[in-house]
């Protein structure tokens, strides 16, 4: 953890992170699973409860803070990353989490998201992607698929979706990962990884909305298909997947694309190894593109690199100035510059 004051002697349980508010999501909503994982994981992080803050925008997902017994702020639509940035500038020692939806983060809030990632503000962004607007009752979102029929796209969506990891990488994010609401072990692991990352961390969580977009991620969850549909990214490992781990993605050096194949087969392509801390975003960019037919969907950490943290760098300038010239005082502030005195005449 990046220097967040610890819990010390205190040992928490899940209950310590469960607020007294009734949870108001629809029955079967994927948000429940994510909430449970957060509440479960928090005690393990060893952060004093009073130093944890959840900030959200507006959307079903953004009701999240009400249910965590930490400090919380359910703000306005799309602005959570900006609010979190201000908070971090004021209180760099806090552990600040942003909870947001695909509409909140990528539609109205797109600008704040890319700037928070670019700046590398030390906030942990949980992006609940259900590929739809839940709270406003089912319009399409910037992650909806082409052709998706919703209340606002009765003939199908025409614009292609954002890939949140791709956009994050284009904003030079330092930590980018993806998880699935129901893969709870992996989800926990991802959340832990982002907590440990010093700097901005974006975790896209595929989240089912049974009311407005049920089954959007079914192939990634279905026992029969998921082994072939999911590529579990592992640092230092080749891009192997499939029920028997018999499938592999390799790099075609001519066309510079990934090509699917079977482990061991020769097809002129190069076996490559995934490195989370790769100097370049090249592979991450490749992986973060939209899953194409015949390709598995990557889940896990796309990228994890270290870079100076915005609020620390900002505050360090002030600290350096104080170290050099002393802390500013009222007297010198006001009695500055050219002055003159008028005596009573």
């Amino acid at each position: 953890m990046s220097a967040v004051p610890g819990a010390g002697e205190r040992r928490y349980t899940k209950k310590d992170f469960t607020s007294d508010q009734d949870v108001r999501w629809c029955p079967g909503c994927g948000d429940y699973a994510i909430l449970a994982q957060l509440q479960k994981l928090m005690p393990d992080l060893g952060i004093a409860k009073e130093n944890i803050v959840f900030i959200s925008g507006i959307g079903c997902s953004s009701r999240f803070p009400y249910y965590m017994d930490t400090y919380g702020f359910h703000t306005i639509h799309g602005r959570a990353p900006a609010i979190a940035t201000g908070l971090k500038l004021a209180r760099p020692e806090l552990s600040v989490w942003v909870v947001t939806g695909d509409g909140d983060a990528l539609s109205i809030g797109g600008n704040h998201l890319i700037h928070a990632l670019r700046r590398n503000v030390d906030v942990k962004i949980l992006l609940f992607n259900n590929k739809v607007y839940g709270l406003t009752k089912g319009q399409y979102s910037p992650t909806s698929d082409v052709g998706q029929r919703t209340k606002s796209s009765p003939s199908g969506v025409v614009s292609p979706p954002f890939s949140p990891p791709a956009l994050a990488l284009g904003s030079s994010a330092t930590f980018v990962a993806r998880a699935v609401d129901t893969e709870v072990q992996h989800l926990q692991q991802m959340i832990r990884r982002m907590a440990e990352h010093p700097g901005a961390a974006l975790l896209e969580i595929y989240q089912n909305c049974p009311v407005f977009n049920d089954g959007a991620f079914a192939p990634l969850k279905d026992r029969d298909t998921k082994q072939d549909e999911v590529l579990m990214l592992e640092d230092g490992e080749k891009l192997v997947y499939g029920r028997e781990r018999e499938k592999i993605l390799k790099l075609d050096p001519d066309r510079l694309v990934l090509v699917p194949g079977r482990v061991g087969d020769e097809n002129g392509a190069i076996e490559i190894v995934h490195r989370e801390d790769a100097e370049s975003t090249m592979l991450a960019a490749l992986l973060s593109e939209h899953p194409r037919p015949g390709f598995p969907t990557p889940i896990g950490v796309f990228r994890s690199v270290e870079r100076p943290v915005f609020e620390r760098e900002t505050l360090a300038q002030g600290e350096a100035a104080v170290a050099a010239g002393g802390a500013g005082q009222l007297e010198e502030l006001i009695y500055a510059g050219d002055r003159w005195r008028v005596s009573s005449s």
């Binding site: 409860k49 400090y71 306005i76 900006a82 004021a90 209180r91 002055r339 008028v342 009573s344």
Partner: protein, 626 residues
């Protein structure tokens, strides 16, 4: 008000009460710098001053064009003054375009110094002169003094190694030197100042010094001027002074507030004219407990400030008109979350992008009403550049003690106008104590201080105070989400009452002049000077006139109704079509009159005086009072 041009015979030094001088030239001619330097010099020698920088929105429009002209007007005086002057007694123009666009500001018979060397064909064309005005008799109503500054600097800087362009860029210091001679100002101190200013580029510093000295020498040797003038030091209130613009004073006040509150301030802002200088000032004060954040846009700026306030810092955001519009949804959040937020709006000409460098007061109603639903905030407005210091502190005090957004309305005349600031004694500055405190036992996020109705400010980090707030309606006391009608009605009433109750703590309306009588002039913000001076004039004519410049616009001070009723007529001059007037009419049902101007220029004293005279008629043959 007696701004005076030259008198009779050469060599003589005439004593005058005040001078209004205006510099005008290309944006690249350094007129703002020249004006600022002269301002500093006369302020340092004890004159009262008031300035009005008047520049275009373009950075450096092509040389010689009328829309590229930048002006700077300064009044300095041996008595107390309040405005930069209705008309200039002296106009110094660096090219034909400056003459064309600024001549109307020179009073008849005024002293007109022109760089005759700049009256070349192309420049004349660009500014729309068919023949040079120096060669027809169109300027005969003024005391024209053509000086070939172009040539003078070329000669003075021969061998300086500077390019011809750079040489010409020293003309402003030549002009300044001439003015220093004319008004007998301290040449040596200015030379030091020039060297300090251009420390990074010594060759430019020396060239400017040379040009300055050449200008001064020109005054000494020419026969053109019949007299020099002396404006004695003003009889200001005793104390230590420095010269400030409103933006400087405001930024200084913010830093002071952070020190007085002993809390970090986060100033989150997106650059916009004319508010950006506040950001620049604060960014340069890193030894103080103020962190600046240049956000990606205004929405991020206001919400980051709210985030900082949530964290226990003092969240401040600054902007101007269109940026304010963008922040309104955020302000609404701060209203609901009941967090301290200071929003500084340096008003400018509108609508839309409008006239970004020109003064207007069009944002009062935007400040009070410009959000969805009823979302009451406090609105205050400094009246003078130096007062921006005090009102910045006041804004922080109100925001933190009443847990609410406070809008501080500045404007273009305050922000860029300069005046002497009598520096406060440090010991006179009261610490800012946070409002309502509770302990973990009794803590509830929306439990209110019975006195102020403020809720407690409980930033993260304190064990036992963990709580959640947000933009949905809150249950009284607990702060839980609530859709209950009775509770919503109650909370709406509380939010309104919390702001209204601020009035209980406000001082009575400060009225200058007659406490009752024929006419009350009411205004807010940067029109102070014109109204004050007008009130003074009218009283001089025998009218019984008061002047109240309202510093508190929401809530209004409790005695405002009574004050308004003490006068036969009330005139409310505003640089908008009558926003304050509407509020006061709706409140009092009194037939208050307006004087309204929305042309991007400040009030002339004369305009106010004339409107007042029209309203109240000639002074009855009353006893003329001292």
């Amino acid at each position: 008000m007696s701004s005076t041009g030259p008198g009779a015979n050469s060599g003589k030094i005439e004593e005058v009460e005040s001078i209004v001088i205006r510099f005008a030239g290309d944006s690249g001619d350094g007129m703002q710098l020249t004006g600022t330097e002269l301002t500093r010099a006369v302020a340092l020698s004890g004159n009262d001053i008031a300035t009005f920088p008047d520049f275009p929105a373009e950075i450096r429009a092509p040389a010689g064009t009328t829309y590229g002209v930048s002006g700077f007007q300064l009044q300095f005086s041996s008595s107390e003054i309040f405005t930069p002057g209705d008309a200039a007694g002296v106009l110094i123009t660096m090219n034909p375009a400056a003459l064309r666009t600024n001549l109307s500001t020179l009073e008849p018979g005024g002293l007109l110094i022109v760089d005759s060397g700049a009256f070349k064909k192309r420049n004349l064309q660009l500014s729309g002169y068919e023949v040079s005005p120096l060669e027809d008799d169109s300027l005969s109503g003024y005391q024209l003094i053509p000086v070939d500054m172009t040539r003078a600097v070329t000669v003075a800087l021969k061998g300086s190694g500077l390019s011809p362009g750079d040489v010409q860029r020293c003309r402003n210091f030549f002009a300044l030197g001439l003015v220093f001679w004319l008004y007998g100002r301290d040449e040596k101190r200015e030379v030091e100042s020039i060297r300090a200013k251009f420390r990074a580029r010594p060759e430019v510093a020396e060239a400017n010094v040379k040009a300055f000295k050449a200008g001064h020498a020109y005054g000494e040797t020419t026969e053109a001027f019949k007299s020099r003038y002396h404006v004695p030091a003003a009889d200001l209130e005793p104390g230590e002074y420095r010269n400030v613009t409103g933006n400087e004073a405001l930024a200084t006040g913010l830093v002071a507030a952070a020190l007085l509150a002993d809390r970090r301030m986060v100033y989150a802002s997106y650059p916009i004219t004319p508010a950006s200088d506040i950001l620049h000032y604060l960014a340069a004060h890193q030894r103080y407990p103020v962190t600046t954040f240049q956000a990606e846009d205004e929405i991020a700026a206001v919400t980051a400030a709210i985030g900082a306030s949530f964290g226990g810092a003092i969240g401040v955001t600054g902007t101007s008109g269109p940026g304010f519009a963008l922040k309104q949804e955020g302000v609404g959040l701060a209203v609901m979350a009941e967090l301290p937020l200071v929003l500084i709006d340096v008003q400018r000409g509108g609508p839309s992008t409008g006239l970004p460098t020109k003064p207007e007061q069009g944002d009062l109603l935007q400040a009070i009403f410009g959000r969805n639903s009823e979302s009451p905030v406090a609105v205050i407005a400094p009246a003078r550049p130096s007062e921006c210091f005090d009102m910045a502190i006041e804004a922080v005090r109100l925001a933190t003690q009443h847990m609410c957004p406070v809008v501080l309305l500045s404007d273009n005349t305050l922000a860029n106008g300069a005046e002497p600031w009598r520096l406060p004694e440090i010991s006179d500055l009261a610490p800012i104590e946070p409002g309502f405190r509770t302990d973990a036992e009794t803590f509830a996020p929306y439990l209110r201080d019975p006195d102020t109705l403020a809720r407690p400010w409980a930033p993260p980090g304190t064990p036992g105070f963990e709580h959640r707030i947000g933009g949905l309606e809150k249950q009284d006391v607990t702060g839980d989400v609530s859709y209950d009608p009775a509770n919503h009605g109650h909370m709406n009433a509380m939010r309104a009452a919390k702001i209204a109750k601020i009035a209980d703590r406000l001082p009575p309306v400060d009225v200058y002049g007659d406490a009752e009588g024929d006419l009350l002039l009411v205004g807010f913000g940067g029109t102070y000077g014109a109204l004050r001076q007008a009130a003074q004039s009218l009283r001089g004519e025998g009218h019984r006139v008061g002047h109240a410049q309202l510093r508190y616009l929401n809530p209004l001070q409790s005695d405002i109704d009574e004050v308004l009723r003490r006068y036969r007529r009330v005139l409310i001059p505003e640089l908008n079509p009558g926003q304050l007037r509407m509020l006061l009419r709706a409140r009092t049902l009194l037939d208050l009159e307006g004087l309204n101007k929305v042309d991007g220029t400040p009030f002339m004293v004369r305009e106010v005086v004339e409107a007042a005279r029209r309203l109240i008629g000639p002074a009855a043959a009353k006893e003329l009072r001292a």
